[in-house]
């Protein structure tokens, strides 16, 4: 059995698959990172992804340009995030409740919206044309390198965007003025307020970015991954993104690795699904169990690390004597 698993894991398609599974989660997880840095817990990621996934397809369909669809998804994502913002930040609706409200619209409301706009029910498969889908990119030199090529080349353009965004989000947070303000607001909003930073504005900006990122995640789902929109298409990825953000300690790079870890567990589950004697249900649970274990192990190492730092300090002192 192990042999079989290994023979499946050590294939390029496995690596490719991990990256593809990771991408939408990564978008949403980065969205969570930015929002959380500004001190806002955006639990509405799932709903934002659902709704922007729908509008991505619709915009692409109406204009027959995929990039208009992507922009549409991003804009819708931003609008939704700002709606959460207006209620949670200005009108002081509980932020969790505001997120749940958006998720509610995402799960049921989209069915209604789709019908309102197109007369279709349930899915948009009949609208899809190739021009509406985000293109796949073959990366010139990389493409021809054995092993690496098939794993890293030939993904959707959005996949590359997702991974580039890890870097960009890091730059945004740590190298720009707005990033500094976002972190300041998240850590001590009173301090930011007292120097004339509009806390609300910064939180709106962070939420807007978070909405844009989850909008991209939505576009990835409907305009590449599933090639059309259907009810429930996001299937919990927005929640997993929250887990990835927590596991990655809210830092862009750590969050990327956490997302990849989830991608790995999912891909592994998909392989095991095809093997003899595994319950399909238990296999489906693998990524979630892995996430819990990952979260707990990570937390345990954090606890140990603090202890170690202290012990090291003590040791050094003892040596100094």
């Amino acid at each position: 059995m192990l042999e079989q698993i290994f023979s499946m894991i050590f294939t390029t398609s496995f690596g490719y698959s991990i990256i593809r599974i990771t991408s939408p989660i990564l978008f949403a997880a980065l969205a969570a990172v930015v929002a959380e840095k500004a001190g806002v817990t955006n639990i509405g990621l799932e709903g934002i992804m659902m709704i922007s996934a729908l509008f991505g397809v619709l915009f692409a369909y109406w204009t027959s340009y995929w990039w208009v669809g992507v922009i549409g998804a991003v804009v819708v994502g931003i609008i939704l995030a700002l709606i959460i913002g207006i209620f949670a930040l200005k009108l002081k609706t509980d932020i969790i409740l505001a997120g749940i409200a958006i998720n509610l619209v995402g799960s049921g409301g989209t069915i209604f919206l789709l019908y309102l706009f197109t007369g279709l029910k349930g899915n948009t498969a009949s609208l899809t044309t190739p021009g509406m889908l985000t293109p796949k990119i073959n990366i010139p030199i990389l493409e021809s390198i054995p092993v690496l090529g098939p794993i890293f080349s030939g993904h959707s353009i959005l996949t590359y965007v997702a991974f580039i965004l890890v870097f960009l989000v890091w730059v945004l947070l740590y190298k720009t003025a707005i990033g500094l303000q976002i972190r300041a607001v998240g850590e001590n909003s009173n301090a930011a307020d007292s120097v004339g930073i509009s806390v609300l504005k910064i939180q709106y900006i962070a939420l807007g970015i978070s909405g844009a990122l989850s909008g991209l995640g939505g576009a990835y789902m409907s305009m590449y991954y599933s090639q059309s929109w259907n009810t429930g298409i996001v299937a919990g990825r927005g929640f997993i993104a929250l887990a990835a953000q927590a596991m990655g300690q809210g830092e862009p790079l750590g969050t990327m690795f956490a997302s990849l870890f989830f991608g790995f567990a999912s891909a592994l589950g998909n392989k095991m699904e095809g093997m003899q004697g595994f319950s399909s249900f238990l296999v489906s649970a693998i990524p979630y169990v892995a996430t819990i274990i990952g979260l707990i192990l990570y937390a345990a190492t954090q606890v140990r690390r603090v202890k170690r730092v202290k012990n090291n300090g003590k040791k050094k002192n003892a040596e100094a004597k």
């Binding site: 190298k175 720009t176 003025a177 707005i178 990033g179 500094l180 303000q181 972190r183 300041a184 850590e187 001590n188 009173n190 301090a191 930011a192 307020d193 007292s194 120097v195 004339g196 930073i197 509009s198 603090v306 730092v309 202290k310 090291n312 300090g313 003590k314 050094k316 002192n317």
Partner: protein, 521 residues
């Protein structure tokens, strides 16, 4: 109607908070150009509220504000800053995980290419201003790692770098040592000479006397008038503030210490950043005495208190109360031994803000048989006792069901004190018991402390207020670098100057002299 003598004029200001508290009621407040103007008043008198409106953090319900003769509408700090107003808040408004330079330029970051933060420039700006105003700070240090004194300087620089000409200083000295305060005052005078105007809030009368030109006194949300500082005596100020005469010195008879209650031996602790905070610390506190601990903040006082109440664990050493160890013991057990603590940070440790006064008073005794009938609370007994405590400790409130967070600082502290003192403690650890509290409340708490010690409790008093430690302590330790620099068995003939030398590490008593604090054994 420009009246150029005044840079700030606040006319008929009324402020009603959403909870219905009228914090300011028709207050007039005028500040002359180039003066240092003191704003005084008891806790809850409405000083901070008035200043928050001047800085755009709160909006007046009624009234007008003029800056430089021009009527302004200060809708946000940004507007206030643009009018040349800067504020140094009492509670630091700094972001701990950012560096000093980043904190300095927050909201006005130097940029290159329009969006990227120019950190080098930020450091340069910081250094330039630090030099110009002679306020030394380390631009690259993270704020969480720097001492309070430096934080205060960063706060002032932050205001200056934003072009403030009018500085509001809300209790800037509350956390500073005498030396640091002196240094700060020099800077303020220096700034005044350069034409800056300052509004100075403090509860410390001698400071007010020392550096301010005029003062406005507030009581219960109303102005009690404006005075030339030189023309008014400390006693007069106190009377105006609290509406009665206040005795500023606490009468106490000679201590009769008996058995050792708290015994600390060889306590050592190295913090996360590898700094030795406690160094072989040993001392005793006896029944019936108040042992004071003085010292510049950051010399291990906080760590010592944390260890005694298990908010942290030492690397080695022991601490016992009546022979029972308290190190690493759950707080429940420590309290059962008869230890009470007035925590330094009352907002974090002393109270649950949105809970009621009663709930706060009961926090350490909610499991007592006295207050429980089987699984249910004995509400009647709770109400009775809370009402009694509120009465005994003169907590100013509408009822025991009021949220503690709605009370003013002094009254919150009274709630904490009422709880801690009423637990029949055999050892009271009082950490900065009167910090930031008005004279009336201070007097009350000090009296209570003496009363309890004379009734047989052992008291360990930690305070940054030299007057307080000298006045209250029967004997006194000065801490320096995590160890004991000096021990004075009797405090009556002690002076500021002598203490200062030990506090700054210029002098150190011999081991033998220090060991006198270990009674017996």
């Amino acid at each position: 109607m420009a009246d150029n003598e005044y840079v700030v004029q606040m006319k008929g200001i009324t402020k009603v908070y959403p909870n219905g508290i009228a914090a300011n009621q028709g207050v007039d407040f005028n500040v002359k150009r180039g003066e240092i103007h003191a704003l005084m008043g008891e806790n809850g008198a409405g000083k901070s509220t008035l200043m928050k409106m001047l800085f755009g953090l709160e909006q007046p319900t009624e009234g007008e504000i003029y800056v430089n003769g021009e009527k302004v509408s200060l809708t946000s700090p940004t507007v206030a800053i643009s009018k040349g107003i800067g504020m140094v808040h009492q509670h630091f408004m700094l972001v701990p995980n950012l560096t000093v330079a980043e904190n300095m330029v927050l909201g006005m970051e130097p940029k290159h290419k329009g969006m990227f933060m120019d950190y080098k420039k930020a450091v340069e700006i910081t250094e330039e201003y630090a030099k110009k105003y002679n306020l030394h700070v380390d631009p690259n240090a993270k704020v969480r790692d720097i001492p309070v004194g430096m934080k205060q300087k960063v706060e002032i620089l932050k205001a200056l770098v934003r072009g403030a000409k009018i500085l509001i200083l809300d209790e800037p000295t509350a956390v500073l040592t005498t030396q640091e305060t002196e240094e700060l005052f020099k800077e303020l005078i220096h700034l005044k000479e350069q034409g800056y105007t300052m509004i100075f809030i403090s509860h410390k009368l001698h400071e007010i006397k020392q550096i301010t030109d005029r003062l406005t006194i507030m009581r219960s949300g109303k102005s009690m008038g404006v005075y030339q500082t030189a023309d008014i005596s400390k006693e007069e100020i106190s009377r105006l503030m609290v509406g009665r005469d206040v005795i500023l010195t606490v009468e106490k008879d000679q201590a009769q210490p008996t058995d050792v209650v708290l015994r600390v031996r060889d306590l050592e602790y190295t913090n996360e950043w590898n700094k030795k905070m406690l160094n072989k610390l040993s001392f005793d506190v006896r029944k019936g005495e108040i042992l004071g601990i003085a010292g510049v903040e950051g010399n291990g006082q906080r760590e010592l208190v944390d260890m005694l109440f298990n908010l942290n664990t030492p690397d080695s050493g022991t601490a016992t109360v009546n022979g029972q160890s308290v190190i690493g013991q759950p707080q429940r057990k420590i309290r059962d031994l008869g230890v009470s603590l007035i925590p330094e940070d009352r907002m974090t440790f002393g109270m649950a803000g949105t809970a009621t006064i009663e709930e706060n008073l009961m926090s350490d005794r909610s499991a007592d048989n006295k207050y429980n009938n089987g699984p249910l609370f004995n509400m009647k007994k709770m109400h009775e006792d809370s009402d009694q405590l509120i009465k005994d400790y003169k907590v100013l409130c509408k009822s025991r069901n009021q949220q503690v967070g709605m009370l003013s600082g002094g009254n919150i502290q009274k709630v904490v004190v009422a709880r801690e003192f009423s637990a029949d403690p055999i050892l009271i650890i009082a950490d900065q018991p009167t910090r930031g509290i008005d004279v009336g409340a201070t007097e009350f708490i000090r009296k209570k402390l003496v009363e309890l010690s004379r009734a047989g409790a052992a008291v360990l008093l930690v305070s940054a207020d030299l007057n307080e430690v000298m006045e209250l302590s029967d004997s006194l330790i000065i801490m320096y670098n995590g160890g004991i620099a000096a021990y004075f068995e009797d405090t009556t003939s002690l002076t500021d100057a002598v203490m200062g030398e030990y506090m700054l590490g210029l002098k150190q008593q011999s081991d033998e002299e220090v060991r006198r604090v270990q009674h017996g054994e």
